[in-house]
């Protein structure tokens, strides 16, 4: 029996430095504070959501100091004033007793869950001391910085650069990176989808009805329900988007590229491609056409399990609706290591359909600068870029910079998982510290055991978050960030077919001793002696500077929350160009056909769409032309293991939010009845899933909505640290089953693997 004398008890429970290992109330959590009513900062405040990466414009109203009702902001037309379940539940973060509201310092062994509350000053001093020592001894590059992309990553990466480390990472390589890089390789920029005007949509498992991106979800539904668009879905699982589709084709996991190439083949061999468009805008068509000669639908059939007749029919159907038809290039990627080819092949179909800058096709974002140039007048204010003089240039290369084929990743968030090899095997050099903001690699990066080993090898880990996430549980220092409902942030660009800006604003007074991350890293910089690189006073001065000192516009923006300027413009769409020209008398002269076709330029070396790219060939030999390469994703006696998003959770972040945890806290594994029958498994049975790197116990969901050779689980469940009380131990931890495998060129963490299944 443990003896507790009065002294050690008092020592353990003492105020300020409370350390408790086993208490039900986490030190530093909101539960330790007295509950106070919420203090609203306005009747209804317009702001920006942060429950996922879409960041929809919202409005929030405090109800009786008790609740917050969050809806969408109607000023943003395409968002329709709507909000999803996650967005609607965001206020639950505010008063969640498990939320962290005090900086915490690890006092026991790493990961043991023993924490002591410290003051911000102590936290900054500890951080400055450790990081500066590591910098002095090993160099600034031995500190990795990673963050969720968005408003916070700007300030955070500024901090990293000021510190002198080149090693900054977003979650891109764990989620949406591939389509961005494929798009940049071909078009020189990211593209957007005009779903609502499309008459025919092919979708490779971009599950917009579960992975909700409000404006795109609404646009897809508008196209389908109001405008009668046809939707064809290729996906191994019967998802909600598959249910809503006109056709669902249960494709073999990871073989989408073969379908996309076969469609290209039909379009070219049947002479259905837009030759005029290709002549004017496309580089490398001939090489591509030569390559796809081999990729007949008959060739694709045994690879994909999709009938050649269907592929051929679908290709002809979509061509008939071109250019008002598109193939969705997806979001969360990495069904296969051939991601780069897959996403490029999808873009290639769109190019062949000639749908670029047409209604119902793909288009380039029109920011203020471009838009104003076309209009010949200042329709929208341009946002000033706030740059700081005297930023240090890191002398070391990034850790993911040793292989040239990954050139494109360096400017697109990097290869996040390369932190693991660097930390564990000093490849290409060792890492000593890891600073993270709102990222949860222990949940979202492949091979949890490896992530854990890497974390354990670090000398110092700082995590900035609102919860003790699965990752924060292994930190040495946790910096409690204010929730998004308590933060003011930079004005953000939300331009689509026309310019638009929006801004995050505080809805309620800050609860507890938390700070917005821009302030945290500014103050940390002060403590570290690099405060001179953070010359702004506060967020208000930044916003003011962003709007070039236009106080009136800033006031208007804050009132409305979202400002849209001008009317939609697609350079090759006659009706939109005509309306644009009528609106702006000073507008640029149109071409003879009444469009701005000749003005459409791409930021590629050739200024054209590079269907085949000599630039890609230069850093990734053999990859200049899109080509099919067979991939081994599982062993013969294994099942494919795939994952996806559910409408009520965001992969690494929301599983402990009370309302959402109450909606769903377990991810029963989808198993086909035939597969389940062979193993004697029924719905609700306990099962064990084992892959090459890990093994997980979970529950079974026997359903015909999945291929016989595949099992599926929703991402983000099965947390293994005790701090996330509502999420821990519930469901299958996907990251623990996925091996750390990286796709060529795009550097994506592969999300398909082989597993064995057994009844427990």
């Amino acid at each position: 029996m443990i003896e507790l004398d009065r002294r050690s008890f008092l020592k353990g429970a003492g105020a300020g430095g409370a350390t408790c290992a086993l208490a039900s109330i986490l030190p530093g959590s909101l539960a330790a504070l007295e509950k106070e009513p919420l203090k609203a900062l306005g009747e209804e405040v317009a702001s920006i959501c942060e429950m996922c990466s879409t960041r929809c414009p919202i409005k929030a109203r405090v109800i009786n100091g008790k609740n917050v009702y969050i809806s969408g902001n109607k000023e943003a037309k395409s968002f329709g004033g709507k909000v999803c379940a996650r967005g609607g539940a965001g206020h639950d973060l505010l008063y969640d007793p498990q939320r962290i509201v005090k900086p915490l310092k690890r006092v026991g062994k790493r990961g043991d869950g023993q924490w002591a509350e410290v003051s911000w000053q102590e936290a900054y001093e500890l951080m400055a001391d450790k990081l500066n020592t590591i910098k002095k001894e090993f160099g600034a590059e031995t500190v990795a910085f990673s963050s969720k992309k968005g408003s916070l990553s700007g300030h955070f990466f500024h901090f990293a650069k000021a510190f002198g480390s080149p090693n900054t990472f977003t979650h891109g390589s764990l989620c949406p990176g591939a389509y961005v890089m494929a798009s940049k390789a071909m078009f020189g920029t990211k593209l957007k989808r005009d779903l609502s005007n499309a008459k025919y949509i092919i979708n490779f498992g971009h599950n917009l009805y579960e992975g909700i991106n409000m404006s795109e979800t609404r646009n897809l539904m508008k196209a389908q329900a109001d405008r009668g668009a046809k939707l064809v879905v290729f996906e191994p699982r019967f998802s909600i988007v598959a249910d809503k589709a006109d056709e669902w084709h249960p494709i073999r996991p990871g073989t989408d590229v073969a379908i996309a190439l076969a469609i290209c083949h039909v379009l070219i061999s049947d002479d259905l491609h837009d030759k005029a468009f290709i002549d004017q805008y496309v580089e490398g068509f001939d090489e591509f056409a030569k390559e796809v000669q081999h990729y007949t639908p008959e060739w694709a059939e045994p690879i994909t399990d999709i009938k050649a007749t269907d592929i051929r029919r679908i290709a002809r159907e979509i061509a008939a609706e071109a250019p008002h038809a598109l193939v969705d290039y997806g979001h969360r990627a990495t069904f296969t290591t051939e991601e780069f080819e897959m996403r490029r092949a999808i873009f290639a179909i769109n190019v062949l359909l000639g749908n670029i800058e047409r209604k119902g096709g793909l288009y380039l974002g029109k920011k203020a600068k471009t838009y104003n140039k076309f209009a010949g007048e200042k329709v929208a204010p341009t946002l000033a870029k706030l740059t700081v003089e005297g930023m240090p240039k890191p002398s070391a290369k990034r850790i993911d910079q040793s292989d040239k084929q990954y050139t494109m990743t360096w400017k697109n968030g990097g290869i996040y998982q390369s932190v693991l090899e660097a930390a564990l095997n000093d490849k290409p050099y060792g890492l000593k510290a890891w600073v993270m903001a709102r990222t949860n690699p222990m949940q979202t990066m492949n091979d949890r055991a490896k992530v854990l080993a890497a974390m354990k090898k670090m000398e110092f880990i700082v995590v900035c978050d609102v919860y003790i996430s699965e990752t924060a549980a292994y930190a040495d220092l946790i910096l409690p960030e204010s929730t998004y409902l308590e933060r003011d942030e930079d004005v953000a660009d939300k331009s689509g077919k026309n310019p638009a800006y929006y801004v995050r604003q505080r809805v309620v007074e800050t609860i507890g001793d938390t700070k917005p991350s821009w302030q945290i890293f500014k103050e940390a910089a002060d403590a570290m002696g690099i405060g001179n690189l953070f010359p702004w006073q506060d967020m208000e001065t930044r916003q003011f500077a962003q709007l070039n000192g236009d106080a009136q516009e800033l006031k208007r923006l804050k009132e409305k929350g979202y400002l849209s300027y001008g009317k939609p413009l697609l350079l090759r769409e006659p009706s939109l160009v005509q309306a644009f020209v009528e609106q702006y008398p000073q507008a640029k002269a149109t071409d003879a056909d009444g469009t701005y076709s000749s003005q459409l330029k791409f930021k590629t070396p050739s200024g054209k769409i590079e269907l085949s790219s000599t630039q890609v060939e230069s850093f990734a030999p053999g990859r200049g032309v899109i080509r099919y390469r067979p991939v081994e994703l599982k062993q013969a006696d294994e099942l494919y293991f795939i994952q996806g998003k559910v409408a009520v959770h965001t992969n690494g972040a929301t599983h402990n939010v009370p309302m959402l945890a109450n909606l769903m806290s377990d991810n029963g594994l989808w198993i086909h009845p035939v597969t389940a029958g062979k193993l004697g498994i029924q719905t609700g049975d306990r099962i064990r899933v084992t892959s090459s790197v890990g093994s997980e116990e979970g529950s079974a969901l026997v359903t015909p909505g999945i291929r016989q050779d595949t099992v599926f689980a929703y991402m983000g469940f099965g947390s293994k640290t005790k701090e996330l009380v509502r999420a821990t131990g519930k469901g299958i931890h996907c990251g623990n089953l996925l091996p750390d495998r990286t796709a060529p060129v795009v550097g994506m963490n592969l999300h398909t693997t082989g597993v064995k299944l057994a009844k427990v």
Partner: protein, 315 residues
């Protein structure tokens, strides 16, 4: 699809649990006991004997006590038991429960009044002599009270059935035969309880004439009960759909066991088996008590079966 819509416990079909089954049993028992007691008294040639018979005395005890216990169950099953008075001052006359409350409001005091009349000679023995003057004052109104009580007892007995048969979503409950079934099984329980109390409390002889008369009622009552059950199940069967699906309650799950072992085996089987025994054995006190307890168990099991299985199948 995985459940992403949250907790489903509030949607569990069974809303009313064993407390309500026990209440339905006790209310039926109270009514049945008084109906048997008063009925037998009326059926007797010379009503005005000065001596109250043991079976009637038993009924006079069971009537008020059982209904009070039942009401206690009901009140403490409310989510706001201390607000139960609201139900006495607010009435929705479309509601079977409101009508039942009214009936019980009359029935319960009358049951007490009648008990005082019947037990007037026993009151002093039980240290309740102070009630004797009231009993004597009520005595002249015996006929009126008895008549009213008889009618109200029919109402209360049937009400327990109407209460749950008024819910049209449940095919097994929403049947015309249910109130009749509950009334008859209440009689069965009443007769059994009367004999137990007569034998144990009022030292009735096993060969007592009244006891014998009551005993002879058992088989016909049981036969009617079985008939009603058959009607209930065949009606479900022929109605088809959700109603027929409810018949699964007879073949699967805990409540099938309760029905076959409790209702059929103990409630009907044991009394019928005892009839095969030689007269001497079956008329022993032990045998009579066993049969009575078996009947009571059967009726209690029936209430549970109907309440649980009935709510489990929704159309």
């Amino acid at each position: 699809m995985n459940n992403i819509w949250g907790d489903m416990t509030q949607y569990e079909p069974v809303t009313w649990h064993w407390v309500i089954a026990v209440y339905l049993f006790l209310a039926g028992l109270s009514a049945g006991s008084l109906l048997i007691g008063i009925g037998l008294r009326w059926a007797k040639s010379e009503i005005n004997s000065a001596q109250e018979v043991a079976t009637l005395k038993a009924a006079a005890v069971i009537g008020p006590v059982a209904i009070c216990l039942g009401l206690a169950c009901l009140i403490f099953d409310l989510t706001k038991p201390f607000d139960f008075w609201l139900i006495l001052v607010n009435y929705n006359f479309e509601s079977v429960m409101a009508i039942g409350v009214l009936a019980l409001l009359l029935y319960t005091p009358l049951a007490f009044a009648y008990a005082m009349i019947v037990l007037r000679d026993d009151l002093p023995k039980w240290g309740m002599a102070f009630l004797s003057p009231i009993a004597m004052a009520l005595l002249p109104m015996r006929k009126l009270i008895e008549g009213l009580l008889f009618v109200l007892a029919i109402g209360v007995g049937a009400y327990t059935g109407f209460l749950i048969s008024a819910m049209n979503a449940y095919p097994m409950l929403n049947t015309a035969v249910l109130p009749a079934l509950f009334l008859v099984s209440g009689l069965s329980a009443g007769a059994a309880a009367n004999s137990v109390l007569a034998l144990l409390m009022f030292n009735s002889d096993v060969h007592d004439f009244e006891l014998g008369r009551m005993h002879r009622l058992e088989v016909p009552v049981m036969a009617v009960e079985i008939l009603f059950l058959l009607m209930l199940f065949s009606a479900l069967y022929f109605k088809g759909g959700a109603a027929a699906a409810a018949l699964a309650s007879l073949s699967t799950g805990l409540w099938a066991n309760v029905f076959w072992i409790g209702v059929v085996g103990i409630g009907f089987g044991v009394p019928l088996l005892f009839m095969l025994l030689p007269a001497a054995t079956r008329h022993s006190k032990g045998a009579m008590l066993t049969v009575a307890c078996a009947s009571l168990t059967g009726v209690l099991a029936l209430r549970h079966f109907i309440v649980y299985a009935g709510q489990s199948y929704i159309s």
